[in-house]
Symmetry: C2
Subunit: 392 residues, 2 copies
């Protein structure tokens, strides 16, 4: 029992970080990087250098009209598809969707996936990002919370700079899940007409409402409460681990729905010999399991980066820019999503349609809730392929 | 703006603690107490004395057949209706439901509301409870976490002792919201036939599923993370306040749904001059508002009591005792309830009906989510009155 539990927890962790279904073809990719000098933030600050990672799959055509941008979710990164080496255990998180002959067909499209600034995985060897954990070239010291706070608009501006560097003046489409859907919608607001099609999976529509702003705060608060956070001025060697683990645990719980939690953990105790009635230390499988998942993720994550990422998303609101948007929009919410419920996609689609654009909503249901957008996206692969290739 | 915000937050706090609509009649009540000597817990421990509070409304009839027990919610207490003094600002939390001529008519019924052991409000002058914050008579010191952990079955056994002391051998009905619905269902499991009717408002049905067990852990974790908790061995004067406030903030957020949060706070900043893009300290109205609500509650709450209460509910599972239950069951879930969604009530009703009992589900919707069970209960007052008076 205990061994099986261990194995399952590890499986889930791998799911969340390296996620995907078994690769059908060997799409081999590599992490690249690009730099932006003197990046001016939405808040009016100047960052001397933003160095960021990206991956590409497929080939850019001669007239540079076949590019699709993939924007990643809150705790994700630019490893959206393929493997770095054939022997890698898992491919990128949306490998089921992106690849030769797949819904986003790399035989047809040049797919670019980009790491955001303040990416959570500051200590992940496969993430290239700039944020509070980076060195401020002006001082030679870690920025910490002296790094400027960012908005989603800054993430998108950094991606626009990448497009400029690649010579791409028009995107065939932008596709993203969760935070990635937020970035895609920000693109629609900030660069209307730059992309023709938007695939918005498990997103919040055009703004974060009061409850979602508070939910993100639930993710931030454990770090702020941890004395080791030291107002953001900690060294990596003395990271606020307890707060960070609890934060990641809260994120993981929010991203999962009851059917999956019931199936994976149920209400059993972790150790049949240690009933929760005997000690506060004894716990249920679901609680120890969520903490184990969080602990396994924590090592690669910087606590300040998590705070910055949450704060960026809290500010997302392009509700008043819908009228200026251009293009076609396919929303894919998940039925049991406890972070961004399907009604939010329906409302956003209605707003767009009302302003003369084409929009459609396709709901998926895999029993995981929010994470259906990663693990059950192939439920609508045919419709996504049609949308990407032909539009609505 | 700032003044208006202050007033609204205070209103909400008063709502949650002293809740109700304006009293139509002056039902005057007083807090009483009762004691149980050598209380044997479910875990096999012995508590030398349990001293607990209760209130009554209306009069017990000669053959003692008109009693209705009211069991309280997680952070509630036995002040379910009426006022202690005519000049009190607010009556008990379900005053809209309980009183002369109301759905639970105190002209007809003798209503008893009981404080649970380990009640959160250890420092609330209107709560009488025994738990970790009480003095262990054997040592003359505060119990702390040496106090035995309890189950909901222990809460119910303590209420059964009160019934014994009042000479009540049969209850006309038991009614409770949230944790109170859990206690009522535990009554149905532990003392089948003792009560004839069960009113189960915003409850989880017959068990807490894996997600709800994890949600309760989200409420506990900030306290466990606070170094001032000191493994439960803190003095009241150095209470783990930060963790406790965050815990109460998480509870408050879980109990509220989007429409109310949007209306009350929206996504405005607390201070128009301090945008959240400028500093992590600057925040949104919804986050500062939830923290203010939590801070106002924290003074009367003991952190260990909160942990004990959560642990008691985590263990709730009477799923295998449904066949032995007797009586009629009216479930009142709330549409936007994010803690116990309506489907849980529907499932429990189906289980009871399948075993030959009468059960019905009436959904309410006031836009507050879980708290609709307190603030919008009069949406079904006619049906509740019929249920209490005539049954299904």
């Amino acid at each position: 029992m205990s061994f099986r539990f261990q194995v399952r927890v590890v499986t889930v962790v791998a799911f969340i970080w390296l996620a995907s279904l078994p690769a059908q073809a060997d799409l081999i990719t590599e992490k690249r990087s690009y730099s932006i000098q003197n990046f001016a933030t939405s808040g009016g600050e100047l960052i001397p250098e933003l160095r960021l990672g990206y991956e590409t799959y497929g080939r850019l055509n001669a007239d540079k009209t076949n590019a699709i941008l993939i924007t990643h979710y809150f705790s994700g990164n630019s490893h959206a598809a393929g493997k770095y080496r054939a022997e890698d255990a898992k491919p990128g998180y949306w490998d089921a969707l992106i690849g030769p002959g797949k819904a986003i067909d790399t035989e047809r499209y040049f797919v670019v996936a980009a790491d955001t600034p303040v990416n959570l995985g500051a200590y992940d060897a496969n993430v290239i990002t700039t944020g509070p954990a980076s060195v401020n070239p002006a001082t030679g010291k870690i920025w910490g919370v002296t790094f400027p706070l960012l908005e989603v608009g800054d993430f998108v501006a950094a991606q626009k700079a990448l497009m400029d560097q690649l010579g791409i003046t028009k995107l065939h489409a932008i596709a993203g899940a969760s935070g990635g859907a937020i970035q895609a919608m920000q693109w629609a607001a900030d660069y209307p007409g730059f992309a023709g099609r938007y695939l918005l999976v498990i997103g919040p529509g055009t703004r974060l409402d009061a409850r979602a702003v508070a939910e993100l705060e639930t993710w931030m608060q454990p770090i702020l409460l941890d004395p080791a956070w030291k107002n953001g001025a900690y060294a990596h060697s003395s990271t606020p681990l307890q707060g960070l683990v609890l934060s990641l645990r809260n994120i993981t719980l929010a991203a999962l729905d009851t059917p999956w939690l019931e199936q994976e953990f149920g209400r059993q105790w972790s150790d049949a010999q240690k009933p929760p009635l005997q000690s506060l230390v004894n716990n249920f499988k679901v609680n120890d399991g969520l903490l184990a998942m969080a602990r396994a993720r924590a090592e690669q994550v910087d606590a300040n980066h998590l705070l910055y990422m949450a704060r960026a998303y809290q500010q997302f609101d392009v509700g008043d820019k819908v009228a200026a948007m251009r293009g076609q929009f396919l929303f894919v919410p998940a039925k049991g999503d406890r972070i961004f419920e399907p009604a939010l996609s329906t409302q956003a689609a209605a707003q767009l349609i009302q302003r003369g654009m084409k929009a459609q909503v396709l709901e998926i249901d895999g029993g995981m809730g929010h994470l259906d957008g990663i693990f059950y996206i192939t439920q609508v692969e045919t419709q996504i392929k049609r949308f990407v290739d032909q539009g609505l």
